[in-house]
Amino acid sequence: MIQVRGLTKTISTGTHRVEILRGIDLDIPKGQVAAILGPSGSGKTTLLGLLAGLDSPTSGSILLDGEEIAGLPEDRMAELRGRKIGFVFQSYHLIPTLTAEENVLLPYELTGGGPDGASRARELLASVGLAERGEHYPVQLSGGEQQRVALARAFITRPPILFADEPTGNLDSENGSRILDLLFDMNRRGGSTLVLVTHDQELALRADRRITLRDGRVVADEP
C-alpha cells in the first residue's frame, strides 16, 4: 500500500524556484498496477523517484506499507529500497563489469540474502529466457536481453513494490511487447504493487489504473 499526502517538490536554480510537484495525494492499494502518464515536464519521473525513495520531497508525506519514508536518512532509505522495492529502468542500468547472473544477484547480495541466491538468479534468468546467457556481460547482450536481465534483477528479492520507469522506452516494439508481457506476468505471479511511468497509452491501458499528471498536479485518475 502506497499513501501519498500533500506531496510537493521544489527545486531552486539559484535565481528562482521551480515547483515540479504541487501537492499530490494518492493511495495505491497493495497488488494494484498503476500507470503514471503525462507529458514531458509534468513531474511523473520526479514522482516515481520520490515514491521509490530516490529523492526527498520538499513537503508532504509518503507511506510505504505504513512506513513514512519522507525525510529518512539515506542509509536507512537504501536499506528500505533493498527490502521493499524493485526497479526497472528505461536504460536497463546494468553494471557493466558484472555478468548477467551477477547483475541479477546484486540486490540479493546487497540485502544480505541467504545461500539460495545463485539458484534463484538462474531460475529468474531462465524465466526471462536467458538461462544460457548468465555468464555474459551486459555489453555482450542486446537491448532487449539487457532489459530482461533487469526484470529478473527487479524480482530477485521478491519486492512488495515494483517501480518501472519507461521500461520499454529504449526498445523496439517487438522487444517492448515481450518485456511488458514478462513484466506483467512476473508481477502477477509475485503479487507485488507495480507503479510504472510511461508515455505509451497502449501500455497504460494494460494497467489497473491510470494517473495523469500535468504541471505537477494529478489531473486525471481513472481505473
Partner: protein, 803 residues
C-alpha cells in the same frame, strides 16, 4: 550463528574481491598503469625499509642487546663527541660497579698478520679480558682467553679460521704472529658475532690499558648494564663521575663528560641521518604513487556515477558503497604490493651493491618477515589512502542525478575535479621538495668533488705495508727497510717518485692529539702524520717555507717537524715558526725543531675542512712507523704498477702484509656515503617527477575528454587551435603553480633534514630551488602537451554531436 555470519561476510568479501579483480582485468591499461605506479612506490619503500630496519631498528645480535652500551666522551665546551675514551679515564670508568655488570675495552683495526706461508691484512682488535662478558658471547670452538693470557692468546672468526687456519676444527692451538709476536688461537667465535664490524681476530690485552694518560683517546669502551639500569640512567651516573674527574684532573678533564650510548646507536651514528633521509625520500615517492592512483581512481569513479546510483537504488547503503570502493582499492593495492615486494628483492640487491663499504650492518639487510609485513602493511594502508578519496566521492553522488547521468562521462568541475587537482598539486609539491633535495645534494656532491684537496690525486699508487716489529731494534730495522724499499721502488720504470706516510689523506690510519710549543703553556689539537723525504713532493703538497725531511733526519739525530700553514698561523701568529720547538704525545716526549711549513691538506677527505697538521719524519718515530702507506707517483695509470711495486717490497721482506689501491680510489671511497645518498635521492626524485608528470597528464587528458563538447563549441565559434592549446596549458600551469607554492614551503620546512649533509651549498640555495622549479615547469609542459595537442585537433562537428 556467529560462524554462519562470519562465513557470509567472508563470502561477501571474497565475491567482492573477485569482482574487483575482474573489473580491473577489464581495464588493462588503467590497471597496468596503477599497479606499476604502486609497485614503484611500494617496492622502493619496502627495499629502503629493509635497509632502515636492518641498520637502525633491528636489535644487535647479542644477549639482552638493550643492556649493551658504548661509552663515549663528550666535551661540554665544544659539544664535540668521540666514541673513544682515554686510558686514564677508562680505569676510572670500570669502577662504576653500580651500573655496569661488565666493562670491556678494545682498540685496533686492520693490521698485518703473519701466517705460516704468507702475511695478510686482517681486522684485528686487542680486547680486554672482560670484552666478551659484555656481549655474553660464547665461542663456537675452543674457549675464551683469560686475564692471565694477555698478549699471548687470540680468538678468531670462523671466516678467518677457514681462510688462514685450515678450518674451525684445526684452528685451535695454531699460532699467528702479529708484529712478530706469537699468539695462540684458543677459540673461534660463532658466525654471527661481528663486533667490532668485520673483526677477524680478537687478541688478549691486559685488564687495564698500557697508555694511561687522559689526553690520548686510544680506546673504545663497551659495557653491559646491570639489569634495570637504562642507558640514560647510566649516562647520568657517568656524568657525575665526569664531574669528579674534572675536579681531580682539571688540566686534562676540564669540560669532559661521558655517556652510555646503546651500542647499536653508536655503530650507526654516522649513517643514521643518511638512512633516515633516504627513508623519508622514499616515503614521499610512496605518497606520490598513492596520490597518482587516487586521482586515477577518482577519474574512474567519475565515470561510474551511474553504477553507484544503480547500486544505491538497489539497496546499497553508504557503508556498502565505501566498502566496495575500498575493496577495489585493496585489490589494486594487493596487486601493486605483490609486484612491489617482488621488485623490493631486486631493490635490496641494488642498494647493497651501491652502498658504501663502510655502511654498517648492510650485511644484515634482507627481505625478511618484518620487511614482508611492512610491505603488506604499506600495500593495505596505501589502498586505504588512495581509496578514500574516490570512496568519499562515490558516497556523495546523488542517486537521481546518477541514474540520469550518461554512462561513460563524468562530471566536469565540482568536488571530484577539485580533489583530483588537489592531489596532482600535492604530487607536484612533493616531487618539487624531493627535486630540491636531490638538486642540493647533487650540487653539494659536485662541490665536494671540486674541493681543493691540497694535494694531487692523479697517478698515485698507494700500498699499505705492515712490517712486523715489536721491539725497538726491530722497529728501527723496519724504518731502514722502508727507506731501502722506497729507494728501490723509485728506480722502477714508470715511477716518478716514491714516498711513505702514516696518515695519508683519506686513508684508514692516522693519529691526532694535543701538541705543545716552547714558551707557551697552551695545548692545541692537531693531526699527527709521519712522512718520508719527498712525501710532500710526491703528493704535490707545496712546501711554503723551510725544508723537506731528508735521509739525515734519523732516530739518533735531533728531532725535527714540519707544520701545516694553519698550525703555523694559529700557534705562531706574526712569527716565523721555523726554528721553534714543538712536542706531541704521539710516541715520544722529545721536543722537535720546526724545519718547514707546508700547505693545507684535507686529511679526512674532501668533506672535511683542512686542519692543523704536524708532520714528523718516520725514521724518528719507529714505534708508529712499521705500518706505512707507500705513495708512488707514476708516469701512467698507477694500477699497472701494482704487481711491480708489491713484488719489489716482498723481495726485500716476504713477511710484510701488503694491500694496494690508488689515491683516487681512496678519495672516491671517502665520499662514498654522499655519493650513495645523492644517487638514491636523485633516483627517487626522478621517479617522483615522472609520477607527477603522469599525474598532470592524467588530469589534463581527463579534462580534455570531459570538455570535448565545450572545446568543440569554442572552436565552432571561432576559437583558434592555438587558443585551445593555451587554455589547456594554462590549466596545467595553474596546477603546477599551486603545487610549486606548496613545494617551496615543504622544501623549506624539510631543509634541516639535509642541512648537515651539504658541502659548499646552503639548504636554502635559490639556484637549487630555481632548477627544481624549471624541472617542474618542463614536466608540466611535457605532460600537458599531448592533451593540448589532442584538444587542438578536436573536430567541432563531431564534438558537438557527442553532447
Amino acid at each position: 550463528m556467529n560462524a554462519n555470519l562470519s562465513r557470509i561476510v567472508i563470502k561477501m568479501i571474497w565475491v567482492q574481491l573477485r569482482q574487483s579483480f575482474r573489473a580491473l582485468g577489464r581495464e588493462p591499461g588503467f590497471t597496468a598503469f596503477a599497479i606499476l605506479t604502486l609497485a614503484l612506490g611500494i617496492g622502493a619503500s619496502t627495499a629502503m625499509f629493509s635497509v632502515f630496519h636492518a641498520v637502525l631498528l633491528a636489535p644487535v645480535p647479542f644477549a639482552d642487546p638493550q643492556r649493551v652500551v658504548a661509552i663515549n666522551t663528550r666535551w661540554t665546551d665544544t659539544g664535540r663527541v668521540t666514541i673513544r675514551v682515554s686510558g686514564g679515564d677508562y680505569i676510572d670508568l670500570v669502577q662504576a660497579h653500580d651500573i655496569f655488570d661488565a666493562v670491556g675495552r678494545f682498540h685496533g683495526g686492520e693490521v698485518g698478520v703473519q701466517l705460516r706461508d704468507r702475511a695478510e691484512w686482517a681486522d684485528s682488535y686487542w680486547v680486554s679480558p672482560d670484552f666478551f662478558r659484555v656481549f655474553e658471547a660464547a665461542p663456537l670452538a675452543g674457549r675464551m682467553f683469560t686475564a692471565a693470557e694477555a698478549e699471548r692468546s687470540v680468538v678468531v672468526s670462523p671466516s678467518f679460521a677457514r681462510r688462514a687456519l685450515s678450518g674451525v676444527d684445526k684452528a685451535i692451538g695454531q699460532i699467528v704472529h702479529i708484529d712478530t709476536h706469537p699468539y695462540e688461537v684458543v677459540g673461534v667465535m660463532p658466525e654471527g658475532f661481528a663486533f667490532p664490524a668485520k673483526a677477524e681476530i680478537w687478541a688478549a690485552s691486559p685488564q687495564m690499558p698500557d697508555n694511561r694518560n687522559r689526553t690520548a683517546f686510544n680506546y673504545q669502551a663497551v659495557a653491559r648494564l646491570i639489569a634495570g639500569v637504562t642507558p640514560a640512567q647510566a649516562t647520568t651516573r657517568l656524568e657525575t663521575l665526569g664531574v669528579q674527574l674534572a675536579k681531580a684532573y682539571p688540566a686534562e678533564n676540564k669540560a669532559k663528560l661521558f655517556a652510555a650510548i646503546p651500542v647499536r646507536d653508536n655503530v650507526v651514528r654516522k649513517v643514521r641521518s643518511t638512512v633516515v633521509l633516504l627513508m623519508a625520500a622514499v616515503l614521499l615517492v610512496l605518497l606520490i604513487s598513492c596520490a597518482n592512483v587516487a586521482h586515477l581512481l577518482l577519474a574512474r569513479a567519475a565515470t561510474r556515477t551511474r553504477e553507484f546510483a544503480v547500486r544505491a537504488a538497489l539497496g546499497a547503503g553508504g557503508a556498502r558503497i565505501v566498502a566496495q570502493m575500498l575493496m577495489e582499492s585493496l585489490a589494486l593495492g594487493l596487486a601493486g604490493g605483490i609486484a612491489g615486494i617482488a621488485a623490493a628483492y631486486g631493490g635490496v640487491r641494488a642498494v647493497q651493491w651501491l652502498a658504501p663499504e663502510n655502511l654498517p650492518r648492510m650485511g644484515d639487510v634482507r627481505v625478511d618477515w618484518t620487511v614482508l609485513a611492512f610491505g603488506i602493511a604499506v600495500s593495505v594502508l596505501s589502498s586505504v589512502l588512495f581509496g578514500l578519496a574516490p570512496a568519499s566521492q562515490a558516497l556523495r553522488n546523488d542517486v537521481q542525478d546518477g541514474l540520469r547521468a550518461s554512462s561513460g562521462r563524468g562530471v566536469v568541475g565540482g568536488r571530484s575535479a577539485r580533489l583530483r587537482n588537489t592531489l596532482v598539486a600535492c604530487e607536484i609539491a612533493l616531487s618539487f621538495a624531493l627535486a630540491v633535495g636531490a638538486g642540493l645534494l647533487v650540487r653539494s656532491f659536485v662541490e665536494l668533488n671540486a674541493a681543493p684537496l691540497g694535494f694531487r690525486t692523479e697517478n698515485i699508487l698507494v700500498t699499505y705495508a705492515h712490517s712486523p716489529a715489536n721491539t725497538m731494534p726491530k722497529m728501527l730495522a723496519s724504518t731502514r727497510f722502508f727507506e731501502q724499499a722506497l729507494g728501490e721502488i723509485e728506480h722502477l720504470p714508470g715511477v716518478k717518485s716514491a714516498s711513505a706516510a702514516m696518515g695519508l689523506p683519506a686513508g684508514r690510519y692516522g693519529s691526532n692529539g694535543y701538541y705543545g710549543i716552547d714558551g707557551l703553556n697552551v695545548q692545541r689539537e692537531a693531526g699527527f702524520r709521519l712522512a718520508s723525504p719527498r712525501y710532500f713532493d710526491t703528493m704535490g703538497i707545496p712546501l711554503l717555507r723551510g725544508r723537506d725531511f731528508t735521509v739525515a733526519d734519523q732516530y739518533d739525530q735531533p728531532f725535527v717537524a714540519i707544520v701545516s700553514d694553519s698550525l703555523a698561523k694559529k700557534s705562531f701568529p706574526n712569527q716565523d715558526p721555523i726554528g721553534h720547538k714543538i712536542i706531541c704525545g704521539l710516541d715520544s716526549d722529545k721536543w722537535m725543531t720546526i724545519v718547514g711549513v707546508v700547505g693545507e691538506v684535507r686529511s679526512d677527505g674532501p668533506g672535511q675542512a683542512p686542519g692543523p697538521e704536524l708532520y714528523m719524519p718516520f725514521q724518528q718515530h719507529p714505534i708508529m712507523a712499521n705500518e706505512l702507506q707507500i705513495a708512488v707517483r707514476t708516469t701512467s695509470a698507477p694500477e699497472a704498477m701494482t704487481n711491480a711495486v708489491e713484488r719489489k717490497i716482498r723481495s726485500l721482506n716476504p713477511e710484510i702484509a701488503l694491500k694496494t689501491t690508488t689515491l683516487s680510489a681512496m678519495i672516491s671511497d671517502s665520499i662514498a656515503t654522499p655519493r650513495f645518498r645523492t644517487f638514491l635521492v636523485a633516483v627517487f626524485a626522478g621517479v617522483a617527477l615522472l609520477l607527477a608528470m603522469a599525474g598532470v597528464y592524467g588530469v589534463m587528458a581527463y579534462l580534455v575528454t570531459q570538455r570535448t563538447a565545450e572545446l568543440g563549441l569554442r572552436m565552432a565559434l571561432g576559437s583558434a587551435p592555438s587558443r585551445v592549446v593555451a587554455l589547456v596549458l594554462a590549466r596545467a600551469g595553474t596546477l603546477a603553480a599551486t603545487g610549486l607554492a606548496g613545494g617551496i614551503a615543504l622544501a623549506a620546512a624539510g631543509s634541516h633534514l639535509i642541512e648537515s649533509m651539504l658541502f659548499g651549498v646552503q639548504a636554502t640555495d635559490a639556484f637549487g630551488y630555481a632548477i627544481a622549479a624549471c624541472a617542474i615547469a618542463l614536466i608540466t609542459i611535457a605532460a600537458a602537451a599531448i592533451p593540448a595537442w589532442r584538444a587542438a585537433r578536436i573536430d567541432p562537428a563531431v564534438a558537438l554531436r557527442q553532447d
